[in-house]
Symmetry: C2
Subunit: 356 residues, 2 copies
């Protein structure tokens, strides 16, 4: 142990000239300064009623002056709780993910939890590494957003013995705890909106096949068409990958059809962004020639030309809900977190009555 001649904690931090490894003051340094034992310091800083109020005040003052910050590392070791969670996303660069991250982070912060952000980049190898790292960090819980490779590491997650909440899980199958948007109902509302505007040739520009939310959104689209008695048109269903670039290509396929659609339901706003661009590139106009709806309601939607009609997901709120659910689970509450969030159609100007 560092035996300072005087034991001043300030000396520990800023000792002039002495070339010993610097370190932040520990609880023992504070104890020495306050002429009490470490347990007493510990209790004083936890506002324990067991310690004399005057002693506590004095200790707190000294700790404050010394710039003492209790080590969460040491505390975590003994309490077996790190007040830390892991947040796994496929990529933070995606606006949907970053909104969720924002909600999670703020809520965690409000409860004095810290968040380990782990970006899997949709790469299975990295994803596995990332989850192992979280296990080693001894996080108290995990939130996974838009997991696309869930099956790969779910066994790993179980091994960690910490609760896990999924947000908009993409892995087809059951998972215990989750916060999901009402994909089917949301996209159905979007399609019904288009039908109400007189559209009949309505396309669906989806995500890669097999992802849960794509399956559900497509189902909502299909249900609306069925209800309206519109026959299925397989050539109007195309795939993208949830990003703008792929959506341009997919949109091009639709526009090359002999009888192109008069409206498009896009899997998400990023796809809608690409779709609208491609429509422009082909010299057509939104919504005069083709109506477009998105899904998510990302920040840029209302600033596009024309402003995008879309289905709103309360992304930040969903992050908050996931975090709150995780708190419940972490505090030993055994009940299941199964939240389905309502999606809301936001009509702007990218949709219009079909032209006669």
């Amino acid at each position: 142990m560092l035996k300072d001649d005087e034991g001043r904690a300030g000396g520990v931090a800023h000792s002039g000239g002495v070339k010993r490894p610097l370190r932040q003051p520990s609880i023992k340094d504070i104890a020495r300064l306050a002429r009490v034992s470490h347990p007493t310091v510990s209790r004083a800083l936890q506002n324990s009623p067991l310690v004399n109020p005057q002693t506590a005040a004095k200790i707190r003052k000294i700790a404050d002056e010394a710039g003492y910050r209790a080590s969460a590392v040491a505390r975590g070791l003994v309490t077996r709780r790190t007040r830390t969670i892991g947040l796994v996303v496929t990529t933070v660069a995606d606006p949907f993910a970053s909104e969720v991250v924002c909600g999670v982070e703020q809520t965690a912060n409000d409860h004095d939890y810290s968040v380990f952000l782990a970006d899997s980049n949709a790469d299975p190898v990295r994803e596995k590494k990332v989850v192992q790292a979280l296990a080693e960090r001894r996080v108290d819980g995990i939130i996974v957003t838009s997991s696309r490779v869930g099956a790969l590491y779910l066994p790993l997650l179980k091994e960690m013995m910490v609760p896990i909440v999924l947000v908009n899980d993409q892995y087809p199958g059951e998972f215990v705890h989750s916060v999901m948007i009402a994909n089917t109902e949301g996209m159905r509302a979007a399609a019904e909106h288009l039908i109400g505007l007189g559209h009949r040739r309505i396309a669906y520009l989806g995500d890669q096949l097999g992802y849960q939310s794509d399956v559900e959104r497509h189902a909502g689209y299909q249900a609306a068409l069925d209800d309206a008695g519109i026959a299925a048109m397989p050539e109007l269903v195309v795939c993208g990958d949830g990003k703008a670039e792929a959506a341009m290509e997919a949109m091009e396929k639709l526009l090359s059809l002999g009888d192109p659609p008069t409206a498009v339901c896009c899997y998400n706003d990023m796809s809608a962004l690409g779709a609208m661009r491609q429509i422009r590139v082909r010299g057509l106009r939104v919504p005069e020639d083709i109506s477009v709806v998105g899904f998510d309601d990302l920040f840029f939607g209302s600033y596009l030309q024309p402003p995008l009609t879309t289905v709103r997901q309360p992304m930040r709120k969903m992050g908050q809900m996931a975090m709150e659910g995780l708190f419940a689970l972490m505090s030993g509450n055994e009940s299941v977190v199964q939240i389905k969030v309502d999606a809301e159609l936001v009509v702007r100007e990218s949709t219009a009555p079909v032209r006669s």
Copy 2:
């Protein structure tokens, strides 16, 4: 200590029925299973040459089967290195920030570091809380992006005795380690581009007054005008806040002028987004009536109608550079990290020759 009758690590994790607090296997559990001491297990898993290769192989096999993951918490306590960094952003929901976060996170991950994401929300109170939390977590280093309240907590940061790298610091003044975009040169190139297209009445739609990058970008704009011998037009310089909404209002001011500008240099792409929207709302066209340039080159720029001419910041790369600089500092390298990144003008279709 948990004394399992048999000591099987599997029993620790999945002991059927026994209602003792479950925990992940510890190094002692593995030691018991392998019939060696814990130090030997520790060395074996670190691939230390001190341990017999056969013993090491056996230990690794057993540890693997038991799903053992060394506690980074315990390791951090003794090694005084957590292999953890803090990443402070004003908000992850901002596309610029999330790109930087992405770059930082990936680079950190490649070196087996984990990232604590801390969202200050540009709120001083929260910001302080966030930094204190990082101090308690004993992070090995910190990266702060677009710090707007830097002055408030810089003293706090110094107290932590860990290296700090700022990305695009907004606090006017010197800071030791930083990665900055070439604000002045970048915006100057943008303005020169407009001047080259024949524009003379060029507006500057800035950020809130006093932020470093706004000051510098404005300086670049001004320098270009000066060089071209264009007299200063104070009425053409307006303020936003870096977001689309405020930019709409600022743009409205410009459009209400008796003699509105024929081109606008926007502080960033978000502002450009708002500016373009407002131009449309007023029934004008980009670029026929007014040319618009942005700054950042966010993902949506090339999908706008028209695609946005802007100044590119290699955001992800900047995050990577910040992280690499931090690695150098954390490994005791005392040299100063002072990186200035080149900005590149990307000409798309939101700028055109001034109409005659």
